[in-house]
């Protein structure tokens, strides 16, 4: 499963899982775990958020 950017209309971007069953904000722990696991191969829209500084990949626990 991967994530993409759903919208950027609100105060912070909303992300959606590829099965369309999960939406979240950037600090969500499940999203963060996916980001860490796929840090080198992120989809372009996600990478753009990272590059813009609106999505931060936090260190693992």
């Amino acid at each position: 499963m991967s994530y993409s950017v759903l919208n950027t209309d609100g105060s912070e971007p909303i992300y959606i899982s590829s099965d369309n069953k999960r939406t979240c904000i950037g600090i969500d722990s499940v999203l963060q775990e996916w980001l860490r696991a796929n840090e080198d191969t992120l989809p372009s829209d996600i990478q753009a958020q990272v590059d813009a500084g609106t999505l931060t990949i936090a260190d693992a626990d």
Binding site: S11, C24, I27
Partner: protein, 365 residues
């Protein structure tokens, strides 16, 4: 005359078990999920997280199973290996774990003078004799300790007491709502975690290679299964009888971390709200208990047509799935999208089409 107050017992008759859902009775997400093993996450029983390191080829089914030891719990957590993995890469793990808020661990007094022992007990069985590990991992100070246990084909209660950890006297668990401790059942691990000497006598600063040395692999055969219930973690050197808890108490504790509506049937109400535009409505869900933190995610069944907006005398089916909008510890706000036909500003009711529709808010550790 002022009388000094004495502290409440660190090991009370009720509330001594720091594990939530140790009887495996609450499974808001699902009772059974197949094909697990490729990713980490919460899948079935509340509070019980599957941690995968580097992806293993091993796959398994995780389920809540009505096969608990009589008089302890009707239910247990079952892992059933469906794809074996006998070529274990260094970073692989399969860990069943629960995380704890630091503010719920203050009774341990860990990391300072007078720290107390911790005793973990649990009932376990498997298809054969295996050696697995139980680890306590102090997330605040990166310290850990692991003890091994053996399975048989019958239910056996294991009682493992972990040494008190005063550390350097200045490293307590943070007194907050963040993750401070992980109780981890190691069922599979690569050389990164098994290549050293098991750290089992006292807490020590973490060395990955010493975390799971000596464990067997759950993924060694598709014959393998693993059952566990009656999990208890308490202060002191003694494993007391497993603490029974009524379902409403356990459910409330679980809902602090994850709240799933339902089950609902056709035209039942999820929540109330208003139309923000001609295509988007906003619905607000009040949580039954105050959540650990502001939820960061909304889950739903992935089928937009299972969600409906009742407005005036009309019901309109959604064209996109409910989406996270914002949340506090007391309520969550989601957006519901239709192709057209809403009247901005109008009050609405969000309804389900069938019993598979749900809204779930997550504030998991």
């Amino acid at each position: 005359m002022t009388k000094a107050r004495t502290n409440a017992s660190a090991s009370p008759a009720v509330g001594r078990n720091m594990v939530i859902n140790g009887a495996m009775n609450v499974a808001q997400r699902s009772a059974s999920v197949t094909g697990l093993g490729a990713a980490s996450g919460y899948f079935t029983l509340d509070r019980w997280y599957i941690a995968e390191g580097d992806a293993s080829a091993g796959r398994f089914t995780m389920s809540q199973t009505a096969d608990g030891p009589n008089g302890i719990s009707a239910n247990c957590l079952k892992l059933d290996c469906t794809t074996a993995d006998t070529s274990i890469a260094a970073g692989e793990t399969l860990i069943l774990r629960q995380r704890f808020e630091g503010q719920n661990l203050q009774r341990i007094g860990k990391g300072v003078a007078g720290a107390k022992q911790i005793t973990v007990s649990f009932y376990v069985k498997a298809n054969a004799a295996f050696t697995f590990g139980v680890e306590l991992f102090d997330e605040d100070n990166a310290r850990q300790i692991t003890k091994l246990f053996a399975t048989t084909t019958d239910w056996v209660r294991h009682e493992l007491t972990f040494a008190a950890d005063e550390d350097d006297g200045s490293s307590p668990f943070a007194d907050d709502n963040a993750n401070s401790l992980i109780l981890a059942f190691w069922l599979h691990g690569g050389a990164t975690y098994t290549g050293g000497t098991l750290n089992t006598a006292t807490f020590a600063n973490n060395t990955n290679a010493n975390r799971a040395a000596g464990i067997d692999s759950f993924f060694s055969s598709t014959d393998n299964n693993f059952f566990i219930t009656g999990v208890q973690m308490e202060v002191g050197p003694v494993a007391t009888e497993f603490e029974q808890e009524d379902i409403s108490t356990t459910l409330g504790k679980c809902q602090r971390y994850y709240y799933k509506t339902g089950p609902l049937v056709n035209n039942d109400t999820f929540c109330l709200g208003f139309n923000a535009s001609t295509t988007v409505a906003v619905g607000v869900t009040d949580f039954p208990v105050t959540m650990r933190a502001e939820p960061t995610a909304l889950e739903q069944n992935g089928t937009p047509a299972h969600y409906k907006i009742a407005h005036a005398s009309t019901v309109t089916t959604c064209s996109a799935g409910p989406s996270f909008y914002t949340a506090t510890v007391g309520s969550g706000t989601a957006t519901f999208t239709v192709s057209s036909g809403l009247t901005a500003g109008q009050g609405i009711e969000i309804r389900s089409l069938n019993s598979t529709a749900f809204l779930a808010w997550s504030a998991e550790l």
